[in-house]
């Protein structure tokens, strides 16, 4: 008897595991189909660009304060920590290079992406989820207007456009913060700070790769945000869960994508 019991128990566990795995794979496929549908129905968002501009305002402009202030502090901390290490090797003039490369290659896109996910991504999910819960999306369907084209696509493109701009502003503000601490406070030579930075930062290898990263993060975060909102269970609890999932999933996606992109972008050159 105990063997039968054990077997039934094992079987139940395996079934639960299997159904969880197929559930996740199914949802991933659904999200991919949703993205494909969204891209195919982006005509309205691009033709009536005013709709998208409005979303750039909500996702981008309203995120400016948190992005700029965080950028400033991250740059200031980078300069403090960087100076501490560099001066041990007598290379404190390279502080500008360290700050700029860290920001442009990594911290700008990644930290701006994480902040964007928690500030704008969660707002997008909550808004679409609540529109679903209050039947606004159904009302739109009943008015023969496709909610994916009219509500989701402008938010998606608004996020995708905003993210690289926010990352660039984050990096710029970070460099300014690094300048304030490194040059104004610690007293590193301003000429060395800027000229070494100018010589060492490469437009294609560093800046363009940073921009590519931020675009990839923008697509990932906004895709997750609009999908979670559209797929949310239309109750208060469902929308709250969807919003949490957006922040968690987008943060993980950013960090995982960052590793993959960094591996592709920056290891090839060294190997060669």
């Amino acid at each position: 008897m105990p063997t039968d019991q054990l077997r039934a128990d094992l079987r139940a566990r395996l079934e639960r595991l299997g159904s969880a795995v197929t559930g996740h794979v199914w949802r991933l496929g659904y999200a991919a189909r949703f993205l494909a549908y969204l891209l195919m129905h982006s005509g309205t968002a691009l033709r009536r660009f005013r709709l998208t501009v409005k979303e750039v305002y909500f996702a981008g402009v309203l995120s400016l304060i948190i992005i700029l202030v965080s950028g400033l502090f991250v740059g200031m901390v980078l300069a403090l920590q960087g100076y501490e290490t560099l001066q041990r090797f007598g290379a404190s003039e390279s502080l500008g290079v360290l700050v700029a490369l860290s920001l442009v290659r990594e911290l700008g896109p990644v930290v701006a992406g994480l902040l964007f996910a928690s500030r704008a991504g969660s707002a997008i999910t909550a808004e679409i989820g609540l529109m679903k819960a209050t039947e606004q999306l159904s009302a739109m369907e009943m008015m023969a207007v496709d909610p994916v084209a009219r509500v989701v696509a402008p938010r998606f493109w608004g996020g995708v456009i905003s993210m690289p701009l926010l990352a660039a502003l984050f990096s710029a503000m970070g460099i300014f913060g690094g300048y304030l601490v490194g040059v104004q406070l610690i007293g590193v030579d301003a000429g060395a700070f800027w000229s070494q930075m100018q010589a060492a930062v490469d437009l294609r290898h560093d800046i363009l790769n940073g921009v590519i990263k931020s675009v990839a993060f923008g697509v990932a975060v906004t895709w997750i945000a609009v999908f979670e909102g559209y797929d949310a269970v239309p109750t208060a609890e469902g929308v709250s869960r969807a919003t949490t999932r957006t922040v968690v999933m987008s943060s993980l996606a950013i960090l995982a994508l960052d590793f993959v992109l960094t591996a592709l972008m920056f290891t090839g050159g060294n190997a060669g």
Binding site: M131, T134, E135, Q136, A139, M142, M143, A144
Partner: protein, 269 residues
């Protein structure tokens, strides 16, 4: 004669799974120009039937003809073409919370017509005047009372002069004044627009004052039908309990439960 029916439902059955049918053998028709009510308890299948008429669900068996089309056979483009001739009032209005009252009513016009600004402006004010809320055009939905929101939603649903107007629980949560306003509007708008209306509701007494004909549903079937007077006089026990709001009848007061004494463990004592 068939053309005179705006909605025609024949032998329709439906279930999310085969074991639990939600609708069974429904036959129903809505003549042009009439205001028809579908009434019954929550969970009796009336909202499912409404979703079928909207084309959001397809029947497992039978046919649903709406505005001369087979609603079950339409693709998305066909469905949208059909819905442009329909207006729908949702239970709580479903106004777009980020748009003003004016923009809410203008929404279907902007999406579906290329009307110049001035004409669109006149039309929006005309629709708002019809529901008595021209003066509220600049307000946001959050600033409206429940009854006002319902009226704005009504103005929005008639923006494109629909041939068929659907109402999902239009009286829920309204005070007596708002209720009187909404029920008069339903009747007046139907007659002045030359439209046909379908009201799905469990507020029987209120609705019986507005409709021309009633279908009464219980457990997924139409169990009674007739004019409001016929329904009021019905001897069918369920209808009688429902119309008169009796506590006990075919629908018991108590939810199914094990024996009371056994539950309290009195039998053992």
């Amino acid at each position: 004669m068939q053309q005179d029916h705006i909605v025609e439902i024949r032998d329709v059955s439906f279930g999310y799974d085969a074991a639990r049918p939600v609708l069974r053998d429904i036959d129903l028709e809505i003549p042009r120009g009439a205001v028809v009510g579908i009434m019954g308890q929550s969970g009796c299948g009336k909202t499912t039937l409404l979703r079928m008429i909207m084309g959001a669900l397809r029947p497992s068996a039978g046919s649903v003809r709406v505005l001369g089309r087979d609603a079950a056979a339409l693709d998305r483009a066909g469905l949208f073409a059909m819905r442009r001739e329909m207006g729908m009032l949702f239970q709580f209005g479903a106004l777009f919370t980020d748009l003003s009252v004016y923009e809410n009513v203008a929404f279907p016009l902007r999406e579906h017509t290329g009307l110049p600004g001035e004409m669109l402006h006149d039309l929006v004010l005309l629709k708002l005047e019809a529901v008595g809320l021209r003066g509220a055009a600049h307000l946001m939905p959050a600033e409206l009372s429940g009854g006002m929101a319902r009226r704005v939603a009504l103005a929005r649903s008639i923006a494109l002069d629909p041939r068929l107007i659907l109402y999902d629980e239009p009286f829920t949560g309204l005070d007596p004044i708002s209720f009187g306003v909404i029920s008069r509007l339903i009747r007046n708008l139907n007659d002045s627009l030359g439209a046909t209306s379908l009201i799905v509701t469990h507020d029987v007494q209120e609705a019986l004052g507005v409709v021309d004909y009633v279908y009464f549903m219980a457990a997924g079937r139409v169990i009674a039908q007739g004019t409001p007077d016929e329904i009021r006089a019905s001897r069918e026990p369920f209808v009688n309990q429902f119309v008169n709001g009796k506590r006990d009848g075919p629908v018991p007061f108590h939810y199914q439960a094990p024996d009371y004494a056994a539950d309290l463990e009195l039998a053992a004592a």
